[in-house]
């Protein structure tokens, strides 16, 4: 199969994944709203979930999430085959990989919080929409990027770390919302997962994200050492990644406090994801060793 055909297939996969996930998002929201309507209209608990042909809307949305993940995986694989290198060498490719990372990590950890799906899908679709605004032509790698093994490991770890940070961010946002509801009304909302489940999900995501972000720093330093003889040069992207890692390190230390501050932990998770986004989008204005955004 020619690289043009593969590139076209990759693009079709991207659109198909976008459509699948958008449908999943609509269903997930419908499921949540339906659940709330049924609850407030004093129906019995058996009627409390919107159902489609016997399946709960959230369940179908979850299935669409899996389908979207598969389609996105196929799209990324086709892109990699078309380019003849790991498929995350520019901003467009990484945006899709970022969306894949968030979805994959959420689906991996989803057992605790199924009702988190709408928020996660919103973030994933946001990232896919952003990818749609970027130039999608396949660009050949500059000499520094021609180390395929380190490129695959370094950026592959970044995809997982960023995805995990995204999931932790969603959990932290919902934690804060839930906390605000409890402070105002005296009890937590049943539409959202409980505080403990959100706290656990955030922590689980960081358990994946923190070491992989550490691996990103280590592999990036190793690569810089191999390519330029300097393992640390305070390159803007390198520094922003270190700042992100330190913020998640601070978050992990809040977990060992005797009186654990859920609010502080959630705020640090949000700051950490802000730093993650800055690290990713910094390619647009940082310059330095990572100025290969393809824009």
């Amino acid at each position: 199969m020619s690289s043009e055909t593969l590139a076209r297939l990759s693009l079709y996969g991207y659109f198909a994944a976008g459509a699948t996930l958008a449908a999943g998002l609509l269903l997930a929201w419908a499921g949540l709203v339906g659940k709330e309507l049924a609850r407030t209209s004093s129906q019995t608990t058996r009627m409390s979930t919107l159902r489609i042909s016997g399946w709960s809307a959230i369940g179908v949305a979850s299935g669409l999430g899996w389908l979207g993940l598969l389609t996105l995986t196929a799209s990324i694989t086709a892109r990699g085959l078309a380019a003849g290198r790991p498929p995350y060498a520019n901003q467009y490719e990484f945006a899709i990989a970022f969306a894949w990372g968030i979805l994959a990590i959420y689906l991996l950890l989803r057992r605790t919080c199924t009702t988190l799906l709408p928020a996660v899908l919103t973030l994933v679709l946001g990232m896919l929409l952003y990818a749609g605004t970027l130039p999608s032509e396949i660009t050949p790698p500059v000499p520094a990027l021609q180390n395929r093994l380190i490129l695959a490991l370094h950026v592959g770890c970044a995809v997982i770390a960023y995805g995990a940070n995204g999931v932790a961010f969603v959990a932290a946002c919902l934690f804060l919302i839930q906390l605000a509801i409890r402070r105002r009304t005296g009890e937590t909302s049943r539409r959202l997962p409980n505080l403990s489940a959100l706290d656990d999900l955030g922590y689980q995501a960081v358990m994946l994200g923190f070491p992989t972000l550490g691996a990103v720093l280590l592999l990036g330093s190793w690569w810089s050492w191999v390519a330029w003889g300097s393992y640390w040069s305070w390159d803007p992207k390198q520094s922003a990644t270190l700042a992100t890692w330190l913020l998640y390190g601070a978050y992990l230390h809040t977990r060992t406090l005797r009186k654990r501050q859920g609010l502080l932990s959630a705020l640090l998770l949000i700051a950490g994801f802000g730093s993650t986004l800055l690290t990713y989008l910094g390619n647009l204005f940082f310059g330095g060793l990572h100025s290969y955004s393809g824009l």
Partner: protein
């Protein structure tokens, strides 16, 4: 009612400053604060432009650089400069912050590894400890000394190591799981200290040359008492179709030690450095050079090869400098963006200075056309045409192995901590008239998954105390006798 007044002697509280400082440095609260405080300037340094060391060293150049920033940052430049945010990573307060982080990690490691220090740090809190509240109370008809061995066996089966102590009023079982997690946590922190220490040591005893430009046909000494020199045997670079994106660039170099070749015709590429006796040579950048041959009046060759045109003059002409005997040559090539009236195509302008002289008035200035020797200031110069130079990074860092070791230790320790969470349970068995009352205290360890682990511990205890027909009342197995 008769009241008796008891005079209570005032309790004398002694403050141990070292102990207080130690507990502060090892506390999670301080660690959280320090890490957040360190992350903020690191992020600021990533977002704000940072002045290079050479700019900072020159006061005039730094003032001009700051003035340029006013165009984008306006009035914020003054406060940002006052806070050293244009040179964050070399600011004294940032280095102090990093040292404090390292100190905290060191104190944490020491408090984990040294038993006496650990006791000081982990002194039991006075008064009621809410984290040790009872989570289950189970009755048993067995006596405490019998039931304790059964419970310990049950907890051991569940993966816990147990330690039984007896007091006057109860039997205590302390059960722990994944005790090495604490060691792994110490290793992760130790790795960070090693990494930072190695970075400092590498900075002090290592060196790096980041702008070593070697023109084709030239030989340049590395210096730093290495006795090494690099000869550029030829540079090639290719671009992808379209001509914008570089595809590959490589230099054929020969490494000389005390004038003798030790590596010949090595193909140096990005991601493929040359290492020799701890010195690493990397292909980093490239650019134009002017091929020059310079001879003295006596016919001695003072310079042969090329002069890298590393800079631009105010009129955007590629410019380079090189020494030739006791002279310094400045070469200006024609502009590349539009026709140059002052320096015609096919020539270079050469200015000759006395080497080391403070005066920047040239001894001679002339145009050197391609292939035609010209004489000035007692020198004969021949322009041999345009060439390329190869930009190299040359480094030596004896501590880099420790940097990798520290980083791997941090990463491995972190992974272990996450994979094998520490758990600690306490079971207290009180004697009662009809047997024992067993109290399971709340589990200590990572909050996540604690509920499942708590249920597992309670099940293990419950199973252990349930009467088993294969055991005697004191917990020993019944041996069936034949006949």
């Amino acid at each position: 009612m008769k009241r008796t007044a008891r005079r209570i002697a005032p309790r004398v509280r002694t403050v141990d400053p070292l102990g207080v400082a130690w507990r502060l440095l090892a506390s999670s609260r301080i660690a959280t604060l320090l890490l957040t405080l360190t992350a903020l300037p690191v992020l600021a340094g990533a977002v704000l432009p940072q002045a290079t060391q050479s700019i900072r060293a020159d006061r005039v150049a730094y003032a001009a650089w700051i003035e340029e920033r006013r165009g984008t940052l306006g009035q914020a430049v003054g406060p940002l400069d006052a806070l050293s945010l244009f040179a964050v990573y070399s600011a004294w307060w940032f280095r102090l912050l990093l040292c404090t982080v390292a100190l905290c990690c060191g104190v944490y490691v020491a408090s984990r590894l040294e038993p006496r220090i650990r006791r000081m740090h982990l002194a039991a809190p006075s008064g009621h400890d809410p984290s040790m509240r009872a989570i289950a109370r189970l009755p048993s008809p067995l006596r405490p000394e019998d039931v304790s061995s059964r419970i310990a066996d049950g907890l051991r089966v569940a993966g816990y190591t147990t330690h039984i102590t007896e007091t006057a009023d109860a039997v205590h079982i302390r059960a722990e799981r994944n005790r090495r997690q604490r060691l792994a946590s110490a290793a992760a922190h130790l790795g960070f200290v090693v990494l930072l220490a190695a970075a400092v040591v590498g900075h002090l005893i290592g060196w790096q040359e980041l702008t070593l430009a070697v023109a084709e046909g030239s030989t340049v000494e590395i210096g730093h008492d290495t006795g090494l020199a690099i000869r550029n045997g030829g540079f090639t670079h290719t671009r992808y179709p379209g001509g914008k994106v570089p595809k590959d660039y490589r230099t054929e170099i020969t490494l000389l030690k005390d004038g003798q070749p030790v590596r010949e015709r090595y193909e140096l590429r990005v991601n493929s450095p040359l290492a020799y006796e701890g010195v690493r040579i990397h292909q980093a950048f490239f650019g134009p050079a002017a091929g020059m041959r310079v001879a003295s009046a006596e016919g001695q060759i003072l310079l042969m090869g090329g002069i890298p045109l590393l800079y631009r003059d105010p009129e955007n002409r590629p410019t380079g400098r090189a020494r030739a005997g006791g002279y310094e040559l400045e070469v200006l090539a024609p502009r590349t963006d539009r026709p140059d009236q002052a320096v015609p195509a096919g020539t270079v302008r050469v200015r000759v200075y006395r080497a080391g002289a403070e005066s920047r008035v040239p001894l001679a200035e002339m145009d050197a056309p391609f292939g035609r020797p010209v004489s000035a200031a007692g020198l004969t110069l021949l322009y041999e045409g345009p060439r390329q130079y190869s930009g190299l990074h040359v480094t030596r860092n004896p501590a880099v192995g420790w940097v990798w070791g520290g980083a791997v230790l941090t990463l491995a320790g972190t992974l272990y901590v996450f994979a094998f969470p520490y758990r600690s349970a306490r079971v207290v068995i009180y004697p009662v008239t009809d047997g024992s009352q067993i109290t399971v205290r709340r589990l200590i360890g990572r909050p996540m998954g604690r509920e499942q682990e708590t249920a597992r511990v309670i099940t293990a205890v419950r199973t252990a105390i349930t009467p088993d027909p294969t055991r005697t009342p004191n917990g020993h197995f019944v041996v069936a006798r034949k006949g």
